[in-house]
């Protein structure tokens, strides 16, 4: 795969003025507060910003969209997986004075059509740590759902907000999504908005995913049973990361990148050999070596966009 140095960002002017950015908690690369950057710094900046996404990154965006179908719960599953991933990454980095256990509530907003088509979250199927922390909002219209989402983002006592909206309602235009982005970034509450059966129209979400279900690996003790959930996730638009495709799996509460070798091929028989080493466990800054060929090179990102970040 081509390195970031071959991207247009490397052919930079020697000094590029950068506006002073507000310091965001948990940024991997904090730009120097000096008004200018040298070419080498810009290269490092662009490299760190254009790195591929992987689970466990602490620099998670505040507003993400996940496009999925209502015929399965993969959108909700991936949203929960990403949310838990981000929350655990944030709690790792936080100061030692923080509470040992996160007891903040999670707001889950659905509009009426999402409830009707995809059902509502089921207490006994939720992850353990979220079972007594969920507040569910059933909004009749998309407008009410957007109101509830924004109110949730303004609330500093919430851990995160998960929303489900069906289709492309007129109320959810670029202005509305920009409102959500700004509210989330101002108050520091992350939003994962699941867009069910929607076209990817104009939006200001910082990361946009497209997800569908993937065949799961066979559990060790009953090879004929469905295994831990897996999804084919495509990051098709991101502000700080290169787009890419992954097969993600959520086992015992952690998000894994699933190597393509272990996905089932044409044979319908479940793969009996359950090899944990075929997963790339998210550890610190180790780079997922086996997801490289799925990612295409970054093209068409201007340096100004990189510096603005």
């Amino acid at each position: 795969m081509p390195d970031a140095a071959s991207s247009p960002g490397a052919k930079a002017p020697h000094a590029f003025p950068i506006s002073r950015r507000g310091k965001r908690a948990g940024a991997t690369f904090s730009p120097p507060t000096d008004a200018t950057l040298s070419a080498g710094e810009i290269a490092a900046l662009s490299k760190s910003r254009e790195g591929r996404w992987r689970p466990g990154l602490s620099d998670q965006p505040w507003h993400s969209e996940i496009f999925s179908e209502t015929a399965d719960a993969s959108g909700a599953g991936l949203a929960l997986g990403l949310a838990r991933d981000a929350l655990s990454a944030a709690s790792r980095e936080d100061d030692p004075l923080a509470e040992p256990e996160d007891r903040r509530q999670v707001l889950w907003v659905q509009d009426a059509r999402a409830v009707q088509r995809g059902g509502r979250p089921y207490l006994h199927g939720l992850p353990h740590e979220l079972r007594d922390r969920l507040i569910h909002v059933e909004a009749k219209t998309p407008e009410d759902a957007l109101f509830a989402l924004e109110e949730g983002l303004r609330c500093h006592d919430l851990a995160c907000v998960i929303g489900e909206v069906v289709g492309n309602p007129r109320a959810l235009d670029f202005t509305a999504s920009r409102r959500l982005s700004l509210a989330a970034e101002k108050h520091g509450v992350a939003l994962w908005l699941i867009r069910l059966e929607a076209l990817p129209d104009l939006s200001s979400a910082r990361m946009r995913w497209r997800v569908e279900a993937a065949p799961s690996t066979a559990p060790r003790w009953n090879a004929a049973a469905p295994g831990p959930p897996a999804w084919k996730a495509e990051l098709f638009r991101a502000r700080t990361h290169a787009p890419g495709k992954w097969t993600l799996s959520n086992d015992d509460g952690n998000l894994y990148v699933h190597t393509p070798a272990t996905t089932r091929g044409d044979d319908r028989r479940p793969d009996a050999s359950y090899d944990r080493t075929s997963y790339t466990r998210r550890v610190g800054s180790r780079r997922p070596a086996d997801s490289g060929d799925l990612v295409r090179a970054t093209v068409g990102r201007s340096l100004a966009a990189v510096a603005r970040g």
Binding site: A71, D72, A73, S74, A76, G77, L80, Q105, V115, Q116, G118, G119, R120, P121, Y122, L123, H124, G125, L126, D132, L134, I135, H136, V137, E138, A139, K140, D144, F147, A148, E151, G152, R154, C155, H156, D157, L158, K186, H187, V189, E212, A213, A214, P215, S216, A218, N222, A224, A225, P226, P229, A230, K232, N250, R268, P270
Partner: protein
């Protein structure tokens, strides 16, 4: 019924047509028990001007404890005269009595001569002996029993329990008393309520056993109001008035150390209409900005008509909250709203049933195993969940029927059609049999066999077969899809 009506021939329990026939000019008013009770409560509070403590005696009496208070009015006779004067000034008829026990005072006020006063040193039985047994505050069926036994006066009853009037010697007297009292005790041995047992009532009247009474404690509700010089017709002015009221209310509540849980806003219009808006808060609060913001949504459909002249804000439910020190730095850092304020805003706009949280319930049926509660209520105590099986992430409100292709009716599903799409079952776990709850449902309800399945594209579902073939509760079993796994 008043005295004039009784003189004209009307009686309680008479039909209105009969009463009109007896006395054509009779004036009637519909019965209003709730209004009477409210008036009586008010009267009981008012009656505390003669003593520190008063209790309701439904439906038409008030008991006042005037212990060590009579000298303030110049003695007991003058106190009773003052009471009668005050009641007459209010247009009420009253019968009064003073006695050492509440039971005796009640008996004298209802059946004795007016303005009777019995001192603590007097022989109570001699003063009260001529009153009928109805003075004991007994139920009607007990009075019938006593009448059949020939016990008409309090003296008769006391005579039985105390033996014949003059005892020959001490031993005989005590024997008589024991036998008479035992007989009555046996007669009413399973009547535990005082109103059904004349012995308990008699002892209460004579002060031998204590009689608990429930005092009336006046409790004022925090209320602020504005009477407006000029009736207002515009929303911006109303918002301004509401701001002022919310600030007044916050000051009032702060003085009491309380926060409002329920607020009522009354708008009196010039033409006599009253518009009332209610608001319930998820947790006690007295922030004026929060209250104003919540009411702003409720005032959108107010029709001011010719103008609103009075606005009143009432906190009909308040809970104590501690005063908090405002931390300047903290508020500067932690911008945004608190959870309670967020829930309040959502509830006000979306309705109380839209914002809820799931809590577990002891049931085997998946859709019954979750109950939805208001979000900030404390979690109910529940047994730990037994987790032998995996459950889906999302559950449909109603299980949807699917057409299933299977090898045998009792066998595994191989292929099914749901919402017009055919799914090939590749992997499957099951069945997990969930039997109907026989202690709650009819015996004809069928059991369910749940399967967790995955189709060719990796979509995971939770489906069940409703019943088994040949269980005698219907024909071939149907299949349903109930949950979507992550």
């Amino acid at each position: 019924m008043n005295g004039a009506g009784a003189e004209a021939g009307a009686q309680p329990g008479m039909m209105l047509a009969d009463a009109r026939a007896v006395c054509p000019q009779i004036h009637t008013a519909p019965a209003d028990p709730a209004g009477d009770l409210a008036f009586l409560e008010q009267l009981a509070t008012w009656s505390q001007r003669w003593g520190p403590w008063s209790a309701l005696d439904q439906p038409d009496g008030v008991l006042v404890d005037i212990t060590a208070a009579a000298h303030l009015f110049g003695g007991e006779e003058r106190l009773l005269a003052d009471v009668e004067r005050a009641f007459v000034r209010r247009g009420l008829m009253v019968r009064t009595a003073i006695a050492p026990t509440a039971g005796a005072a009640w008996a004298l006020a209802h059946f004795g001569p007016p303005r009777t006063i019995v001192g603590p040193q007097e022989d109570m039985m001699r003063r009260l002996g001529d009153l009928p047994v109805a003075a004991l505050r007994l139920d009607a069926d007990v009075l019938t029993v006593l009448r059949r036994l020939g016990l008409k006066r309090l003296g008769d009853l006391a005579g039985i329990t105390a033996g014949p009037g003059v005892a020959d010697d001490d031993r005989d007297y005590r024997q008589h008393e024991a036998s008479g009292r035992d007989a009555l005790h046996r007669r009413f041995r399973n009547r535990k309520s005082p109103a059904a047992n004349p012995l308990i009532r008699l002892d209460q009247l004579l002060g031998r056993v204590p009689e608990p009474l429930l005092p009336v404690i006046p409790q004022s509700v925090p209320m602020v109001q504005r009477r407006l010089v000029e009736p207002i017709r515009h929303r911006s002015l109303l918002d301004r008035v509401l701001d002022d009221l919310a600030i007044d209310m916050a000051r009032d509540l702060e003085g009491r150390g309380e926060g409002a849980r329920r607020l009522e806003l009354g708008l009196w219009r010039v033409d006599g209409e009253v518009i009332v808006r209610h608001l319930e808060l998820a947790s006690a609060s007295r922030e004026p900005a929060h209250i104003t913001r919540l009411f702003a949504d409720r005032l959108d459909n107010v029709d001011a008509g010719f103008g609103i002249e009075t606005v009143r804000l009432r906190a009909s439910w308040a809970e104590p909250i501690a005063a908090q020190q405002g931390d300047v730095e903290q508020t500067a850092q932690r911008h945004g709203t608190s959870l309670a304020a967020c829930i309040d805003r959502l509830t006000v706009r979306l309705g109380p049933h839209a914002v809820r949280r799931p809590v577990p319930r002891a049931s085997h049926l998946p859709e019954r195993a979750v109950r939805w509660h208001p979000p900030l209520d404390p979690l109910p105590v529940s047994q730990g969940m037994l987790e032998f099986h995996q459950r889906p992430l999302k559950l449909l409100d109603r299980a949807e029927r699917i057409a299933v292709l299977y090898a045998s009716p009792d066998g595994y599903p191989q292929r099914f059609r749901w919402r017009g799409e055919v799914h090939e079952v590749i992997r499957m776990e099951g069945p997990e049999r969930i039997a109907p709850e026989w202690w709650r449902e009819k015996s004809s309800v069928r059991l369910r066999d749940y399967y967790r399945i995955e189709d060719a594209e990796g979509r995971r579902y939770w489906i069940y077969r409703h019943g088994i073939a040949g269980d005698g509760r219907g024909g071939a079993p149907d299949w349903y899809l109930q949950g979507l796994c992550a």
